[in-house]
């Protein structure tokens, strides 16, 4: 089978399945909404201007809510034994990784779109003015999160009770990405661009490293 066709088929299979079952996505999207409401209650809105300093908060919500589905990327496969079948398929194993990565990226972008709407309506954050830039930044950051998340979730899927470990493994690795994402988002929201190039380079470096490395590492990560 053609490599990219294999990637596409894994993507299509997982996407369709999750959209039909809705288990992980419903939990994740609801959690994101809930967390934003909780965060709002935890700050004094008369003293904290979320438009000036709320970007990091949005990213925390994305990180926490995203881990609800990303940590389960391979869980179903190991539980039902379909992983064996996938591994037996006559296709390079990095195709499995890329397919799963694309599913996670798609779900993450959906989650982020939802969070943007909530942030705009509920928290009155100035996310509408430079929506194009915001989309570019969030897309680039999402690549990094999905790349790391997909690789690490393949690791924890092989360990009993491993899904508890996913955020513990992923969040420390994602710290530089969180710092860059928060700074960039804040800069876009207040219409400032000094220093942004540097952060974009950092995100680019993170994306490149963690998208290329798994293509080689995944082979070993998931071996039977």
């Amino acid at each position: 089978m053609n490599y990219w066709r294999a990637v596409w088929m894994i993507f299509a299979k997982d996407f369709r399945e999750e959209v039909r079952r809705k288990e992980n996505l419903a939990a994740s999207f609801f959690f994101a909404f809930l967390a934003l409401v909780l965060f709002y209650f935890s700050v004094d809105p008369t003293r904290v201007d979320l438009g000036q300093s709320g970007a990091g908060l949005l990213w925390l919500v994305i990180l926490f809510a995203g881990n609800l589905f990303m940590g389960n990327t391979f869980r179903k496969e190991t539980e039902t034994g379909t992983l064996q079948a996938l591994l037996l398929a006559p296709v390079d194993r990095s195709a499995i990784y890329l397919g799963k990565f694309l599913v996670n990226l798609a779900f993450l972008l959906m989650l982020e779109a939802l969070i943007l709407v909530f942030a705009f309506i509920l928290l009155a954050m100035p996310v509408g003015e430079h929506l194009g830039w915001l989309a570019v930044v969030w897309f680039l950051v999402s690549i990094g999160y999905s790349a790391v998340g997909t690789l690490l979730s393949s690791l924890v899927a092989q360990i009993r009770g491993g899904h508890v470990l996913f955020p513990l493994l992923a969040f420390p690795v994602l710290i530089p990405l969180l710092i860059a994402a928060s700074s960039l988002t804040q800069d876009v929201m207040i219409g400032q661009s000094a220093g942004s190039v540097r952060w974009l380079q950092l995100v680019g470096l993170f994306d490149t490293i963690f998208l290329v490395a798994p293509l080689f590492l995944f082979e070993y990560a998931i071996e039977e």
Binding site: Q158, R160, F210, Y220
Partner: protein, 218 residues
């Protein structure tokens, strides 16, 4: 694996150097002018940081070797390096605030290098949780090796992210008095040799453990 001779030699060197280092820190080297006696923590703080970084780099290299060759020896070495590296990065995180309390007036400042050490501590603690949750089989070793590689790839990115994010800085270049430089060299050698001795001992323990478990399973 029998590195017995090497182990004895390394422990002897480490003991001698550490005795010399302790003597120099307490009785030989003068106290720094502005910070006073507390500055002497520097002679262990910095070498611990160097040891931790060297050990994490070695853990990365041994993890790669293990994935490539699949020999348990490399896994034992990677595990030992990560574990001893974790101990030394913990020393950095404990001695840093003690020094910082005297130098900056606060226990913890979100200063780039200290913060980088904290992020490393978080990543390698997660690595041990991964080992703890799983068992002693080859799969665990492989999964842990991948995590060690991911963590190591992250280090330079963490370094830059935190440098650009933070504002307070370490003194960029420290110029040391001759007596201070000599003491620093001796304590560095002492800490590094201690790290090497600990790592080798831990690795041979881990290797024997893995082998006896494999024999039991057969």
């Amino acid at each position: 694996m029998d590195f017995r001779k090497w182990r004895i030699l390394l422990w002897a060197i480490a003991a001698a150097l550490n005795a010399a280092g302790l003597y120099m820190v307490f009785f030989f080297v003068p106290a720094e002018m502005t910070m006073g006696e507390v500055q002497k923590i520097f002679y262990y703080h910095v070498p611990s940081a160097i040891s931790a970084y060297v050990l994490f780099a070695l853990a990365f290299a041994f993890s790669l070797l293990f994935l490539w060759k699949e020999e348990p020896l490399w896994d034992s070495l990677a595990h030992a390096c990560a574990e001893v590296g974790w101990v030394f990065i913990t020393v950095v995180l404990v001695t840093g605030p003690i020094w910082g309390r005297a130098a900056w007036g606060k226990w913890w400042v979100w200063e780039p290098r200290l913060t980088t050490a904290l992020v490393l501590w978080l990543m390698y603690t997660a690595y041990f949780l991964l080992r703890l949750f799983s068992g002693h089989d080859a799969r665990t070793a492989r999964v842990a090796a991948v995590m060690a590689i991911v963590a190591f790839f992250d280090v330079p990115i963490v370094h830059f992210a935190i440098k650009w994010w933070g504002s307070i800085v370490h003194p960029p270049k420290v110029s040391l008095e001759p007596a201070m430089r000599l003491t620093f060299l001796v304590t560095s050698a002492a800490v590094l040799s201690l790290a090497a001795a600990l790592t080798l001992t831990r690795a041979s323990l881990g290797f024997d453990e893995a082998r006896s478990l494999a024999e039991e399973a057969q």
